[in-house]
Symmetry: C2
Subunit: 420 residues, 2 copies
Amino acid sequence: MSLQKSWVESANSATTDFPLNNLPCGVFSVGDGDARCGVAIGDMILDVAALEAEGLLRLADHPVFDVPFWNELMELGPDAWADFRSQLAGFLTEGAPKRYLAEDHLVPQADAVMHLPFLVAEYTDFYAGRNHAYNVGSMFRDPANALPPNWLHLPIGYNGRASSVVVSGTDIRRPWGQLKPHGADVPQFAPSRRFDFELEVGAVVGTASEGMVSVAAADAMIFGYVLLNDWSARDIQAWEYQPLGPFQAKATATTISPWIVMRAALEPFRKPTPPREVLLLPYLTEPGPLLYDIALEVGLAPAGQPETVISRSNMTALYYAPAQQLCHHTTSGCPMTVGDLLGSGTISGAEKDSRGSLLELSWGGKEPITLGTGESRSFIEDGDTVTLRGAAIGAGYRIGFGECSGTLIAAHADPIGAGR
Amino acid sequence: MSLQKSWVESANSATTDFPLNNLPCGVFSVGDGDARCGVAIGDMILDVAALEAEGLLRLADHPVFDVPFWNELMELGPDAWADFRSQLAGFLTEGAPKRYLAEDHLVPQADAVMHLPFLVAEYTDFYAGRNHAYNVGSMFRDPANALPPNWLHLPIGYNGRASSVVVSGTDIRRPWGQLKPHGADVPQFAPSRRFDFELEVGAVVGTASEGMVSVAAADAMIFGYVLLNDWSARDIQAWEYQPLGPFQAKATATTISPWIVMRAALEPFRKPTPPREVLLLPYLTEPGPLLYDIALEVGLAPAGQPETVISRSNMTALYYAPAQQLCHHTTSGCPMTVGDLLGSGTISGAEKDSRGSLLELSWGGKEPITLGTGESRSFIEDGDTVTLRGAAIGAGYRIGFGECSGTLIAAHADPIGAGR
């Protein structure tokens, strides 16, 4: 597929994340105005809430954009999602007769503040990156038995905390927690000293399920994808995670990109999962390519200093695709809900500079990385800004997510006093 | 405290779960009528939605009972919760002048169908029963090291799946899942063969948090309590839970009682947590008695046969109280939300007949229990009904929850076909 040209000139650049081919879904506000649904096009946002209010955009017999989240469009199902993209193209395509109707409803992205694009119903995080699981297993167990025995048979996942999901740009407060440093006899309650990021892609579930769904049906349930940083306190995690898994280590925040890239925009970039090392049970078999060729990178910028790109990876490094994760999620009969968010797990490539967390990049702090500024990092320092970027690269265009960014701010001096 | 007398005669019996002292919160419907909020009194339900609609009950400058869930009353905060109980007493107390206003809004419980009493925002399950953790650790590790090293220092918890919470009376479908029986080389996808219940109490969070809260503040955030059965597929759990904890094993369903007993009704029954075996970090210290003397029991009835009580326990067997769990839940900065549900963890007593799961009662299936019918059980069989009951016993009255019950029905023959 090639670039679909728009009369919004900035959308035709090979460097924008938001050509007409993309049309990602966000929620924005300008000044004191209400937050509302919009679609990115070049360096502008098309105010779809306004278009709907004026009767120019109609998806159902009731409004779906009179709320500052995309869940109501999701509720309408895949046919409506396709209809929506088609109606938008009718406004934004080069030479579109309806151009004049849209012109008044374009807002510069530079003037807008972005909000969480959807109501996160529940949040599940997976562990579906082969290299990440191997690296972590090598560090904490041994390289010969790095992968847990179940890892090649099922997509391991755990439930996270939806209330902690925030939009790009939200400051992240360094958490307190129970830690037990090496050699200590008893745990202490202190700010985390090993605070980390995780490079992930999140799948947004757009239709609900009752009972188990097949991998193919699960794929069709996915409304779109976001970039996702599952902030992780490694020292809290190390002490708490046995035997019931990560809990407070992952509950401080999870940052997502402001834009949901709809599945349709990524169709030209489908890729199969890697070859299986052991045969999967039939229910998990890949019916067709389920991953996407999405180039990913992580930048880290100390306070007031330039950014260094510290990792470059690709979504194709996942061993289990989001559709396989979602299918497995329903095996027990677990009902899935519109607005559920599935984190892919950390997407580390095979090379050292493609690792998707500082835990792996610095090998547990034993091999600190050096930034372009000359500083070194084992984990994130106060004031550091971590930014994820990602795009599927087409011929003369790219399908991007915008930035998924957050700055770590210092822990509260007295966490209980800071609460209530 | 003694019985508070009501003109609703059935509320004055020593055997009802619902004297005037209780006033628990439920959602009910009659015939084809809408589901709405009601309060149990003796064998009747007071239709508080109708009282509010008629202007007889007023908690805020907007209605809170025009929805079939209690979250909007919770949102008003603890002062409103107290005001609500006081206004209800004004209708229901023996000799109350406002009796005539309430009489038309009483519905027999026998005519009502009960619904989920609140919107479950997120669901967390803890592991705070000392005997349960010891028993499970003894079975799966060894008795000398039964408790994980962190267990005596923090309330271990994991996030569960809110969408799977159902009200008492909902049938439970035996789940499929990945299992790896002892001795098998590879896993299989099959219906669970070791399906179990867990006897728990659930705390309903009634006010939201930002940042960390103290144990005392956490206690004040709790709106009330329910009985909770965290259905568990032990064979799915055994294969999946390393290293990130239980996932599909716990996602089939969690059943709660139809009635939320408000914290105020339980105040006379407060009891301290057991003596500490190691000193807790100061943030977790108990500021005053945090548990309640709630007698618990589990009944199991094979299809069409009488029930056998297979366990008798008490909430005071918990090592960490719900307020300590909730405080710990906020340590990382995790925002807690109105309608969050915290399962206590399985409440097993010290004696064999007080164990809160079949896993423990049958010692992993090695010592099947015998029912009154002569049948034996290691795990739950298709058609079995498991019922939890609980009550705080006062002088001549009891504060109960109603039954928390569910019947296990056979697995689908073809789980994907049964879904879509």
